[in-house]
């Protein structure tokens, strides 16, 4: 057994991260269902949309679908799709798109084998080791944005990391999107809760990117995610938001809320049939509105705990559903989102093994947008500061795993092994010394010192260390430069819209 040396006491305390990277998964996508099985899901979803159909609660949406050839009935919200029509509409969706940020280095590509991670989103509560759990608020919202900006593993903030419930609902989106636009230089997000919030978000995108309407429509600059009201329903505010997004060429991820046993059948395969039907119906609607507009296929299929009715995440069922969703999205050639999800109440071992089950399934399944990448707890009811950091470590490890190895002759090291020879060691070999500084992944959180050193240093667990790291990141946070002109325009816009009363309450 190798003796583990003591850590060098002179080591600097500064936080070292991997660089910001646009990730690609160079390895093959996993397929756990056969082609026939994927076809079975496909045909079952088509049959469902043909025979049962889906409710589109917004009359304008039904009218658009009717014009496109779908079946509607007077006095009913139900829309039924002929399979050929559905496939024709879905096939208009582009296989990839780029989402633009005010910092062009943070533009994101969605499609092919791209991998993007986003912060935790849409939780009503927030917690940390120091202060415990509290209701979402603007202070914590801004802190989480700052962490999202500082952590190189965060590609996107896709939804409020925590709901700033202390802000008035009518103007909350203005403060929230303005904070997102100033505290980070990563792409923007707005909720599809009616058209006003989306339109305000798009105005802010134009202001901070300094672009006109035509450029906005050519360069997607704001993303949104809509959940179906599963089973088989899209509601009015969501459809209004979708219309506002899609008409101006902005990407929408259609994510059915298919928890097997609750809002979807108790079988994983049945839940996937329903997910597929709901996602395709949403995508078809978007393409009927604006053919060729960017969309995403959203997978959120998991199961509930049948004992308590609580949603469960990072389960074996979730893992299988996520990988099969990857197969479905590739069949339709549409970028895919899923989540780094867990159902733990604390940033403990459970939160991590459930997250890892989710994360590996996302990576194996070639998911393009891994939502809730950093900081999710309680199946989405809480954002947690320590989990943000534990997740950052896990995402860094995954980022490094996705860097392909070189098989150049010097890497094969036959000569180096020969020089060291039997029974010796490589610490001092020239081959080692030339490479050791950047040879291996260097962790953000993990403590690799030996037990005695770890004990002397206070037996700090990974979660406790994560607590120190987020505080240090916040202390060292630097707001990304926003041109004076843009900042003033943004401020004027927000003040004007607040004076106008913001958006209607929902």
């Amino acid at each position: 057994m190798v003796r583990r040396a003591r850590r060098n006491p002179r080591e600097s305390n500064s936080i070292k991260q991997l660089p910001y990277r646009h990730l690609r998964n160079p390895y093959p996508a996993l397929a756990i269902a056969s082609e026939d099985e994927i076809e079975a899901i496909h045909h079952a979803s088509l049959a469902l949309l043909r025979d049962t159909g889906m409710r589109f609660l917004l009359p304008e949406a039904r009218e658009i679908l009717k014009q496109a050839g779908a079946q509607t009935e007077t006095g009913s919200e139900r829309v039924r799709f002929d399979p050929d029509l559905l496939i024709e509409l879905v096939s208009k969706a582009p296989p990839s798109f780029t989402l633009h940020a005010r910092n062009a280095g943070h533009n994101l590509f969605f499609g092919e084998n791209a991998v993007n991670f986003s912060m935790v989103a849409s939780t009503p509560n927030v917690s940390c080791l120091d202060k415990g759990r509290r209701t979402g608020n603007f202070h914590d919202y801004c802190n989480l944005l700052k962490l999202g900006q500082s952590l190189n593993t965060t590609h996107l903030i896709a939804g409020y990391p925590v709901e700033p419930i202390d802000l008035p609902p009518t103007t909350r989106h203005l403060d929230a999107i303005a904070a997102l636009a100033t505290l980070t230089d990563k792409p923007l997000y707005a909720y599809a809760l009616g058209d006003v919030r989306i339109n305000d978000g798009l105005e802010i995108a134009k202001i901070i990117r300094g672009i006109d309407e035509q450029t906005l429509q050519e360069q997607p600059s704001l993303i949104t995610i809509v959940n179906a009201n599963s089973p088989l329903q899209y509601d009015i505010p969501m459809l209004q938001g979708v219309l506002s997004m899609v008409r101006r060429g902005q990407p929408v991820a259609f994510t059915p809320f298919t928890l097997a046993g609750a809002m979807a059948p108790v079988t994983v395969v049945g839940a996937l049939v329903q997910q597929n039907a709901e996602a395709l119906a949403g995508i078809a609607f978007a393409q009927a509105v604006n053919p060729g507009c960017p969309v995403m296929y959203g997978s959120f299929t998991s199961n509930v705990d049948m004992k308590s009715g609580s949603p469960a995440f990072g389960t074996p069922e979730y893992a299988k559903a996520t990988v099969i969703s990857g197969q479905l999205a590739r069949k339709y050639q549409i970028p895919l989102r899923a989540s780094n999800a867990n159902a733990s109440n604390a940033p403990d071992a459970q939160s991590v093994y459930e997250s890892q089950m989710s994360l590996w399934s996302c990576i194996n399944g070639h998911i393009n947008l891994i939502m809730h990448g950093l900081g999710w707890l309680e199946g989405g009811l809480c954002a947690n500061y320590e989990k943000v950091i534990l997740d950052a470590e896990m995402l860094q490890m995954m980022s490094e795993y996705l860097q392909p190895l070189s098989f150049a002759e010097d890497e094969l090291a036959v000569k180096a092994i020969d020089e060291v020879g039997p029974g010796n060691h490589f610490f001092q070999s020239a081959h080692t010394i030339e490479r050791y500084e950047h040879a291996f992944y260097s962790p953000l959180v993990s403590d690799w010192s030996n037990f005695e050193t770890w004990q002397e240093n206070g037996e700090v667990t990974a979660t406790q260390k994560a607590n120190k790291i987020w505080k240090q990141l916040l202390a060292e946070y630097n707001e990304p430069l926003l041109e004076q002109d843009c900042a003033e325009q943004l401020d004027e816009f927000v003040q004007k819209r607040k004076a106008e009363g913001g958006a209607p309450s929902l």
Copy 2:
């Protein structure tokens, strides 16, 4: 957002596990290196064994290899292999074998897409939340065997879960193997530390299985793992042990100790070249001794922390090395072992995310024997009771992930979705009620109650819950029945061998 219901307070406290399962991985094996890249490793290892060769410290081993056609030199311990000879010897190894246990239901198949998990092995220390860390001892050794017997996820105890250092070294193996043979009915293991310990282990195997020598040789009943003294060396006690095993048809896993940057080149690919050379040389030796005898290819390639020299496990480098090892073993059609490894000092979040990185790589890479499946900490310097339970949960989740889904018409649930209809829920549907009890994975450790219930119940973390579970498992432990006759013979044998002085100290 779904409201999470309170847990039913009448729920029973008994520990529920998944059933004991012989696992197969029905999904495709991952390949992260191209065929050319695998060939590059292959040819580099052959060149290394041809030009640099390997030290076999036991003269008898060198003589056997010389007779088989390898190059040896008088006065040197070095053995060099012609590539054709090496490939010819390696090709004699069988692609699979069955390891027999006294309980035939616990016989294990190694090869193809079989997945077997073993307990933590060979740690000098042991720890738990209650008593902290202490030196290995027979009491904890027996406790860990009992947990290994009780936990259905444990297929094999492959090495002492902790070294019983309080037992005299000359007779330790007798007490240790006798305890393994009585406290569990899973397959046996002995250390290849000279021939005496192996031969004693084989006698015990014959006694408890009630078989004669010929049956033993036809039905492998004891397994051992040998580590190369990397780089490029096999020592005398190990080679003696190998000879005793292989001559009697018992399986040996040849596992190079290739920590990149220490006992192997600092490049992962270089470490794999060395691993491949050392493993193939060991396998070739076994086949020269007894053509067709069962062997395993062992992968343990990881890296050291270049700041401290400490070994690191569950790193991105470990993940890549493990998956590529799978590709190599499949090329040679030899069963493969790797590990569920981590370098954490506590059963905390780090121990879990590092383990998950290891575990997913083992599953993705189709590793047949996942060593240290339950309870490893500190890179192998400590066995931990809580980690045994956390790992059991992770292995159960993996076991469930490996159960393929049914795509039968009823599972697709088109009719059930139609019956529930838009905007309703599935809790009360006939399709749900027929299936809900066994629809989903039920966790061993995870707490899926809502935050308020979890808080009322004392905010128990997964690690704290694991502490309660192992105590309950030990309290409920039942020794598996061993026939009176066998038990008496075993006792007689151990007493006789102790009286004879046991085995030489090493």
